[in-house]
Symmetry: C2
Subunit: 336 residues, 2 copies
């Protein structure tokens, strides 16, 4: 295992330190915790948004803390849910007196620990609500999940719920829009190589030189099929066919797409995939209103990518395009 690290045990703490040193204008770290919170909290009386999960998915989730998105992000060990006490710290940091929405990805460990944390926070007087993201159409049930897994579609949930929270909506309204996004957002990914969990020291799985894993999870969980390598056009087609079928996507619909690198695949390749996704949607008569291409929800240094589609109506589009200002996503801001 060759990684830019010191001790394996220190990976998460040291990465948080480096993030705060890089983005002091956005992030503070709550003392004695693995919680990153806004350096400039939103005004009192606004709904707070907390997300989190295992580390190894950077820039998720600390990279989305800031204006228009999250108020706090809680980092667990690599690919391991944060503990309830840490999540409670995140909830406290996010609380501005109007309740806190927790955005959880559908993994058994995360659900359990966020449930406990929510109860603890509520007994301390903070009203909480929770949504569970399960956008991965590849598999029902898997190594760490009952039901579908939550993957990169989570970023659209952060963005849209975060925009509404910033506008001053109630906890019920913010929860409802998050659930609306979850009901519509669908993703699927593939891997060209495995990742290596630092504490394990060796790759989670092995793929031959001409082989890919279709439907991969963001922790290296198995997908649907190990199959011969495909071209970028074939990859886009394989992912989009399945996503479109699940969504009942049809000509004339408007969508947002997220082309998400899993870690090692460079922007050159992600851009080619983005072009193919756009071309596929053009051919299907689907209107691509928004596309984001880059690394949003990674799986350590795995090579590969996922594609996410979110059908848009006017309100979801407006919230998706609303200004945000975070380490990993800045848009709709003004100069002059």
């Amino acid at each position: 295992m060759k990684k830019i690290i010191n001790q394996v045990e220190a990976v998460v703490d040291e990465a948080l330190t480096g993030l705060v040193r890089t983005f002091p204008q956005y992030l503070i770290r709550i003392p004695q915790s693995r919680v990153l919170a806004r350096a400039y909290p939103k005004p009192e009386g606004r709904v707070g948004l907390v997300s989190g999960g295992g580390s190894g998915h950077e820039p998720a989730h600390g990279g989305y803390v800031g204006y228009g998105m999250l108020d706090a992000a809680v980092a667990g060990e690599v690919f391991t849910s944060p503990t309830p006490d840490q999540i409670v710290e995140g909830i406290k940091a996010a609380d501005r007196g109007a309740g806190v929405l927790l955005v959880v990805k559908n993994y058994t460990g995360d659900i359990m620990n966020f449930d406990i944390a929510r109860e603890l926070a509520e007994s301390a007087g903070i009203t909480c609500a929770q949504v569970v993201v399960n956008d991965d159409v590849a598999v029902e049930d898997s190594l760490f999940t009952t039901g579908r897994r939550g993957i990169a579609g989570t970023i659209f949930v952060h963005k849209i719920a975060g925009a509404l929270a910033e506008q001053g909506a109630s906890l019920k309204e913010v929860q409802a829009v998050a659930e609306e996004v979850i009901a519509h957002v669908r993703s699927m990914g593939f891997a060209l190589t495995s990742c290596t969990v630092p504490a394990a020291g060796q790759p989670t799985f092995a793929l031959a030189d001409d082989e890919l894993e279709m439907g991969i999870g963001i922790h290296g969980e198995p997908g649907i099929a190990r199959q011969p390598m495909l071209s970028a056009r074939q990859l886009a087609d394989a992912l989009l066919k399945r996503i479109a079928a699940d969504l009942g996507l049809h000509a004339g619909q408007h969508v947002a797409a997220l082309i998400n690198g899993l870690g090692a695949s460079p922007l050159l390749e992600l851009s080619i995939l983005a072009g193919e996704v756009a071309h596929w949607l053009d051919q299907a008569g689907v209107v691509l209103d928004v596309m984001w291409t880059g690394e949003f929800m990674t799986s350590l240094e795995m090579a590969g990518a996922s594609v996410t589609l979110l059908p848009l109506d006017d309100r979801r589009r407006a919230l998706l395009l609303a200004a945000c200002d975070t380490p990993a996503l800045r848009q709709g801001l003004r100069h002059d």
Copy 2:
């Protein structure tokens, strides 16, 4: 070779297509060319800024086209200088009647082709000036260069010269500030793995499982030494010692740092390196005013990173922190 591509020959064109589909609010492609230009050009009477070089360094250079940075970026084949006719197209796209500054990295092929392009553009009536970035302290002369190579420090040149050009400074002034940055900026990198040039189909070099290449170039050119793997702290120390010695860095100086991933190293690891760089500078009594951490100037899917330092005075700091709005770098913008 496993990559998310179609035909090897189409890689650059298809990546440009995907970039424009992702960032239509920033980028247009000049027809029949490999030039990306601003979707919303700056006002007439301002100095234009053109950069470019081989592809494979994404988000460089197209990702830096936009407000406060470049006006046009010219993409060559992977790791190959763009041809003079393409560079001329870039100059024309950037020209707003006040002259155009070309930012070139110090590689023999780039220098030659930008020289020819500059002459062609000047004979067509566009006043041009050129600066050559040579920030890599690792080696004097190398496979593709006489003198030092230009690597990630180029991003600071784009940023500072771009900010001054946006303010309406003259070509002489913009050239002078770019040369001032070049005189001060220093970088060095290391690789944990090779990259694979698509047309070659196999890795440029091989490293053992416990080995790194110190002083690597951004095209896989050899560095100073092949040596046993180091910790993040040792890596920061090795790079910064050499950079600091070259700069004559001393306590009390203010600097900007760029922690640049070469492609496959995830943000988790880059953040750990960033924390170590910050710690090293703290210990040396050097004041870290600005740090950027991420992928700015990559080398396809190479694992590894480079560190860049730029000593700051008040003017360079202000220009570095000035607002910019490009696909790859957005800062200093306003909401509300």
